[in-house]
């Protein structure tokens, strides 16, 4: 009896390929929302502890991205948007991506738990678990509600930031969670409207593939109508100054206007693309104004009053 072993080719993966595995663009929004959660929390957090928490959240988010790319490598290779990722291109093997992701996940959670606090570490571990197991492995290929439920993973970073600063949770970080949670469906469905062939080809049951474009446009509008008042809620509940309230109202109206345009669009995806692009700006601006409002210590409130 003879055994033949296939010898793996030595890796040609560069540092950039591993950084790409961590989904740096997604990571930047995660880091920013976590930073806002950390800074708007009451009390003082030492800069070194705050930076450590942010670093751990960044690495944890990167780990989740790498594990997502590892599991989804088969469908990524057949979708135009993702075919250039490191695994489909053959730069990184699935095993290397899995090892990289698991290592970073364990390091980030353990480090956050030991150096910052256990609650933040538990939330980070839950976020990674939710994104990889609940969203990527379970929901993504089985239900059109995949990004609605899976959106919870992307909504947790401000809560982790808050927990890192205070060791507890409160209503304010839950509000931030809800804003991102209800922001996710219009954001991703706007993208999926003009990537419908990609998702259909690989059998991912995104809403436009399963329920059609018309229903997706209706759902985008419904979620946006929930999102816009939620964005203003921190001011309505008295957590922020009026400047935030006014800015959030303007951004919310702009989102609703775009959602209405998407709803009325036929045979073109111009509004969908605008909606996708603006939704990223919306979340960034909303959190940026919230941060400025909180950091100014009510200064805006005095000016406005």
């Amino acid at each position: 009896m003879s055994l033949t072993f296939a010898r793996a080719e030595p890796s040609v993966a560069g540092v950039g390929d591993y950084i790409e595995l961590m989904k740096p663009r997604v990571m930047s929004l995660v880091v920013f929302t976590a930073l806002v959660g950390l800074l708007v929390a009451p009390g003082h957090v030492h800069p070194v502890i705050g930076l450590t928490a942010l670093l751990c959240i960044t690495v944890g988010a990167g780990a989740a991205g790498a594990l997502n790319m590892w599991y989804d490598a088969d469908i990524d290779a057949r979708m135009a948007r993702t075919a250039g990722r490191p695994i489909p291109r053959g730069r990184v093997t699935p095993g290397e991506a899995a090892g990289f992701g698991f290592t970073l996940a364990v390091f980030s959670v353990v480090t956050l738990g030991l150096l910052v606090n256990i609650l933040a570490a538990a939330l980070l571990a839950f976020t990674i678990f939710f994104y990889v197991v609940i969203y990527t492995v379970w929901l993504k290929r089985s239900t059109p509600q995949n990004i609605v439920i899976g959106g919870a993973a992307g909504a947790l970073p401000p809560m982790i930031g808050w927990a890192a600063a205070t060791g507890t949770l409160a209503v304010e970080p839950v509000l931030l969670f809800l804003i991102i949670f209800f922001w996710t469906p219009p954001h991703f469905w706007a993208l999926s409207l003009y990537r419908i062939e990609d998702y259909a080809r690989v059998g991912v049951p995104m809403l436009p593939v399963v329920a059609g474009e018309r229903e997706t446009r209706r759902q985008i509008l419904i979620y946006t109508l929930i999102l816009a008042p939620l964005g203003v809620a921190p001011w309505l509940l008295g957590y922020t100054g009026p400047v935030y309230g006014v800015a959030a109202s303007i951004f919310g109206v702009a989102m609703i206007a775009l959602a209405l345009r998407v709803r009325g669009e036929h045979g073109s995806h111009r509004a969908s693309k605008q909606m996708f692009g603006f939704s990223i700006l919306y979340l960034f601006l909303l959190f940026a104004v919230l941060l400025i409002d909180q950091m100014s210590g009510g200064l805006f409130g005095h000016f406005a009053a």
Partner: protein, 94 residues
Amino acid sequence: MTTVSEIIKEATKPPADDRPYSYRPAPSAEGWQGAGIRLTEQQMRARRARSIAIALALGAFVVVIFAVTIVRLGSAALERPTLMQPPGAVVTGK
């Protein structure tokens, strides 16, 4: 006649190929030339870049642990442990 210096010279002579095993040629029909896989220039460059990145990441990790330790313990980081004191002993002095 072989002199002592010649013996020493022979014993300390560097091997024909003193690169790490993975850089040497793979075994051939002519005999054992060295173990492992022969890396291409591109593979060697990629490995070196990865090694440097890992070293920097580990260095950063050490710095983070050190900084947080100092922040958490403050001046207590410089205090000597008193674990060897017998129970009930009164520690005097600064």
